[in-house]
């Protein structure tokens, strides 16, 4: 993917760029808002990552300029302020996702990857299929290897998020946002306990686990067996 990054701290920018390049992406970095707007209006990128607080024009202004120019490119906002107020402002201006600094790189990589394949239109599909797991979104049925699996509504949504990102890591905080929408991070391991229930239901009678845990990052459903 072709990724644009606005980040004024040179060390952080280099660290993020190196990490994303190691994952096979091209990364272009700008250190201030004016350069960012010039570049973003001239070229198309797959994902834009904007730091909210940069000197001069800030990330939010850049975001407004990009959206005003009619670009629908997915945008991930990075913010160092306390999460609540900033998240609302960012999402209102048309950001697709946000991440509070400081963050783990794995979290950033997972969110950038998830944003990058968003416009493929998979959201409209009625049936999702990952390896031997099949999900019918209209009838809210799940089958593994043709065998029906009974899921609670919450477990169903959890599985849906994983199946919409086949072969890609979905982090714990992404799941908290998308499945529970609490807007805060409870200290308990809600994700872990629900995930373990979902797993035991999915894996019953199968030797291979349908959902893989990626240590330090999140969860993953492999596309190919």
């Amino acid at each position: 993917m072709n990724i644009f990054l606005l980040e004024d701290d040179a060390d952080t920018a280099a660290f993020i760029a190196r990490g994303l390049k190691e994952k096979g992406h091209q990364v272009e970095v700008a250190g201030d808002g004016v350069t960012a707007i010039t570049r973003l209006l001239a070229d198309r990128f797959d994902v834009i990552v904007l730091d909210r607080m940069v000197p001069g024009l800030d990330g939010l202004t850049v975001l407004k300029a990009v959206r005003a120019a009619g670009h629908a490119t997915p945008v991930l906002m990075l913010t160092a302020k306390s999460q609540i107020a900033d998240r609302v402002a960012g999402l209102e201006e048309g950001a697709d996702d946000y991440l509070v600094k400081p963050f783990a790189f794995a979290e950033l990589a997972a969110r950038v990857t998830a944003l990058g394949r968003r416009p493929l239109g998979s959201e409209a599909a009625a049936i999702l299929k990952v390896a031997d797991v099949e999900m019918n979104l209209l009838r809210r049925e799940v089958r593994r290897g043709g065998k029906a699996v009974e899921l609670q509504p919450r477990e169903f949504t959890l599985l849906e998020q994983l199946m919409r990102n086949p072969g890609r890591v979905v982090t714990r905080t992404m799941l908290l946002d998308q499945v529970w929408n609490f807007g805060f991070d409870p200290k308990t391991n809600i994700v872990e306990t629900h995930m373990s229930r979902l797993r035991s239901k999915l894996n019953e009678g199968f030797s291979r686990s349908a959902i893989r845990t990626v240590r330090g990052s999140g969860y993953l459903m492999e596309d190919s067996v």
Binding site: S82, A85, G183, T193, H194
Partner: protein, 463 residues
Amino acid sequence: MFKRAPRTIRGLSLVVAGVSCLLTLVVGVMTFSLVHHEIERQLDRRIELETQALLGTYRRTDFETLVREVDDRARSAARGTIGYLSGRSETDSRMGYLVVDAEGRRRGGDFDGAMPKAGWSEFARYRRPDGSAGVAQAMNLALDGGGRLVVVADRSALMAVDRKMIRLALMQVGLVAAVAVLATFWFGRVVQRRLESIHGAAGDIMAGDLSRRMPLDGSDGEFDQLAKVLNQMLVRIEDLMSNLKQVSGDIAHDLRTPLTRLRARLEDLDTAGTQAIDPDGLEGALREVDELQALLSGLLALSEIEGHSVRDRFAPVDLAAAIADLAEAYEPDFEAAGQRLITDLALAQVRGDRPLLLQALSNLLDNSLTHAGTGAQVRLAVSTQARRVRIDFGDDGPGVPSQARERIFQRFVRLDPSRSAPGHGLGLATVAAIIEAHGGSIRVVPSERGLVYVIDLPALEDR
């Protein structure tokens, strides 16, 4: 146009006094001219009547009869009341007459002065019978058969009234000026005294005495109300300032421990060199960093909530439905901890921030999970009564000692003496701040077993 109006009390009192004097003077002048002209009209009317009567006599008879008639009238004792006015003495309100024949000889009457000009004249000078000098209003008419008739009325009564009225007006102006100056000066002193006391208190506060308050006099007047509002503001400022002080101290203290541990770990890794980096050591260092981050963001969130800026985002929240979601999310954890979560949710709507309210309850649930122990029962009930929403939260775990009940809502307070359990002592402080930001209150209720909270929130008003 009011830009140039005086803004000081001295200036205002001068303006008020000046305007009052001016108004009194205007009213005085108006009264004076009204009364003066009325009396003058009476004088003129009297002269007219006398002249008419004498002319009537002259026309009916002849010049000699007129001369006799004039002499009669001049000698008459009853003459000289001028309308409704009378002078202090007979001479003050007397009338005078003079008849001159065609050759200009004085033939009758008692008017002793220069012949006034023809027609009306004011201020005709003459000598009165007692020898004093007088000023009179005079009418000088030509007679048909030659000769002139002069009728005069003494102006002394009018002039006496004029003098009295001028004296009265001057006294009024003086009195009003004095009263106005005194009143505004006194008013100014009252205002100034209050302002000075507020001034002094403000000075002390600026000098650092944040506990100082504006003085009240208990009158509940405008100044008292202003002082009360200022005092409420000062209480809030003092709270925020002491929070700030406490937080800076607490942060410094609580950051030191994880930073020391982090440094030790990194030193270990450093001395180990590149050949044998211990993955456990790295992971441990990352954990310390995560903990530091959690502490910092917890503190930031807490100060944001206490600053009440979160109120900008408040919207109607279906509390029962939100809590049901939360309870469902927590259910597996309670099962894993060998505890039971019982909910009793009645319809309850509040105005607030859903994530924050859920976070508050989530903190309470976390506490019970950690501290209530295996086999504990946790009860979460919501009800609405008389525009208040009441949340009852309780577990039957070991609870807290009664003397610690007030303390547990302060930040960095941890009852676990070993401080071995995870957390920074921000959980309940955050809960209290969230509830307070929503205009509610939380307290620990004494109970035989476990820890029981009652949360009180204003219910959403029906629109």
